[in-house]
């Protein structure tokens, strides 16, 4: 199994009610349903992904986070709200984080680190927008419009009173390397954050 899924599933308990924002083709929810016995929904806007989810028995709802938010979900109605590799693609990640921790008791977020050494190096040397395995797009067609670094994200969490319960840093292949653990903001490509409100346990 992909190491990032392995890490995420350790934080999910059997019977948890889960919301997966930008659930893609439903791989993660499908896995969690089968292995962890969770219930819940995925939100997605890509038509092919939605069809795939429906075909594999993942409950998926077509919903655009940018325009519709999460207003249709009651406060605290989920144990965990997940968002893997979608934070950088929404218009207001700060508001989405607030909404995640309103609708759910806990959040799990993964996103690519714009401070990774290869991206820094690429920009310095070539003077062009960097590309990597985690960010395989051109500047003009990328869905990733709100790139940040691990430090930026953690600063936002502090500002918002969001507590980081755990952080795991992996490389572009979602491998957990000791170097990335040592200098995460420089060597980590993707981080998996487990977050909650300051006052939550």
């Amino acid at each position: 199994m992909r190491p990032d899924l392995e890490i995420i599933q350790q934080w999910i308990k059997p019977g948890h009610h889960i919301l997966d924002l930008g659930c893609g083709d439903g791989t993660l929810l499908d896995y969690l349903q089968r292995e962890r016995g969770v219930s819940g929904f995925g939100l997605e806007i890509n038509p092919e992904h939605i069809t795939t989810c429906m075909g594999r028995g993942v409950a998926v709802i077509e919903q655009n986070l940018d325009t519709q938010g999460l207003g249709n979900f009651d406060d605290g109605s989920f144990d965990v709200v997940l968002m893997t590799q979608a934070l950088q693609a929404v218009r207001r990640p700060d508001r989405v984080l607030d909404e995640m921790l309103r609708a759910g008791r806990e959040g799990i977020v993964t996103f690519p680190n714009f401070a990774h050494w290869r991206l820094r190096w690429g920009l310095t040397l070539s003077g062009r927008m960097p590309e990597s395995e985690a960010l395989p797009y051109k500047w003009y067609n990328t869905p990733n419009i709100r790139l940040c670094t691990f430090k930026d994200f953690e600063a936002l969490c502090r500002q918002k009173g969001i507590r980081i319960k755990s952080r795991r840093v992996v490389d572009g292949q979602h491998q957990n390397s000791w170097l990335a653990r040592l200098w995460p903001n420089l060597l980590g490509e993707i981080a998996i954050y487990r977050i909650t409100r300051e006052n939550e346990q």
Binding site: G57, V60, E62, N72
Partner: protein, 382 residues
């Protein structure tokens, strides 16, 4: 009718009449002592009767959902685009049951049937039927067919309401409910359109307070107007524009009130044809069933509470240009299901055809429907 039947057609089919002798108590307080239901089936019921799918029809629909009655039939059943070998409701895997609802005018007992108490047609004495009544009669039909649990109950528009009602009235008797282009209740505007349709019918001089059978006449004009109003609401501005624009029948304005624009003559033709084949009392009854449908009514309007008994999986689909039952109405239903922690999937299909889009195959609609139903088939081992 085509010279040869299309390969993905269920082929030549024939309806069957099921007679029920046990009285059925209706929501309005009346009882039907005995009644008939006309039914078509496609595909084969498997050994453990797990692969049955119920198709619920919309306002003016009936039992003939797929295939042809004869090689001379011009058009196939009303949902032929979605039912057949290899189609979303795949008859190679599913046993499909489609019926004409109680109160209908295509063979099932309705206002035009003979009332055994009087020996004359029921006419306006036929009891008002609700969506719940239909579901009850469909459950009795399922008993008769040896089906304990439907793999899925599927319907568009008024048919979607029946699917939703099934999930509440008989939660243990269906695995999936599919509601397409539907709504959890009518809005004031929806009811207003129905009222215009009913007024058109009841104010026709030939209506005779619903006893037109006795006068050997029909309120054709009223029914035609009712259908014209309905028809407009089933299409979209864009699809009508594309089909007719402001095209004239003859090149110039005639400065009169005949059917000068193509769209006028189209509506008149459709209305007239409909008035020849549909019963006016049934139209009143079906629009009333639409108006009354509101599962949240007994729960202070809280649909999520009304949904508490449901245990099936739901698929809800809406269409972007449907202004009869807008995507917002479907989302209302979906949000109540989310709040009630039901298993629901939802997509809004971008299609230009208005409410009628649920009858017209568009790639995304077909793909989603196909994927979902394939999963249902796998689940029941079909």
């Amino acid at each position: 009718m085509p010279d040869s039947l299309p390969a993905d057609s269920v082929g030549i089919v024939s309806p069957q009449t099921y007679h029920f002798e046990n009285p059925i108590d209706l929501a309005c307080g009346q009882t039907l002592e005995s009644y008939d239901l006309v039914v078509e089936t496609y595909g084969e019921l498997n050994a453990d009767a797990s692969n049955a799918v119920l198709i619920c029809h919309a306002l003016s629909g009936h039992h003939h959902a797929a295939g042809f009655h004869s090689v001379d039939e011009r058009k196939p059943g009303w949902w032929d685009s979605c039912i057949g070998p290899g189609k979303p409701i795949d008859t190679n895997r599913f046993f499909v049951v489609s019926l004409n609802n109680l109160g209908g005018c295509h063979g099932s007992t309705g206002p035009g049937s003979i009332n055994p108490a009087t020996g004359k047609p029921y006419g306006p004495d036929f009891p008002v039927i609700t969506v719940s009544d239909w579901v009850k009669s469909q459950a009795l039909l399922a008993d008769r067919l040896g089906i304990d649990c439907w793999a899925a109950v599927v319907g568009g528009s008024l048919g979607g309401m029946q699917a939703l009602q099934w999930s509440l009235d008989y939660p243990e008797r269906l695995r999936h409910a599919v509601a397409i282009a539907s709504t959890p209740r009518l809005t004031a505007q929806n009811i207003a359109f129905n009222e215009v349709a009913r007024q058109a019918i009841t104010s026709d001089q030939e209506f005779h307070e619903g006893r037109y059978y006795d006068f050997d006449t029909l309120p054709r004009r009223g029914l035609m107007l009712a259908r014209m109003v309905g028809h407009i609401t089933y299409l979209s501005d864009a699809s009508m524009g594309e089909k007719f624009g402001r095209e004239l029948r003859d090149q110039a304005y005639k400065f009169g009130y005949g059917a000068e624009f193509q769209v006028e003559s189209y509506l008149r033709y459709q209305g007239e044809r409909f008035s020849e084949s549909f019963d006016a009392n049934t139209y009143l009854l079906m629009t009333r069933a639409l108006d009354y449908f509101d599962p949240a009514y007994e729960f202070d309007g809280d649909l999520s509470r009304a949904l508490a008994p449901a245990s099936c999986n739901f698929l809800v689909l809406s269409f972007s240009t449907d202004w009869r039952f807008t995507p917002a109405r479907s989302e209302e239903m979906v949000n109540a299901m989310i709040a009630a922690r039901k298993k629901v999937s939802y997509a809004e299909i971008d299609a230009p055809w208005g409410h009628d889009a649920f009858l017209i195959p568009t790639p995304r609609y077909t793909d989603i429907f196909q994927a979902y139903m394939a999963r249902v088939a796998r689940e029941v081992g079909a």
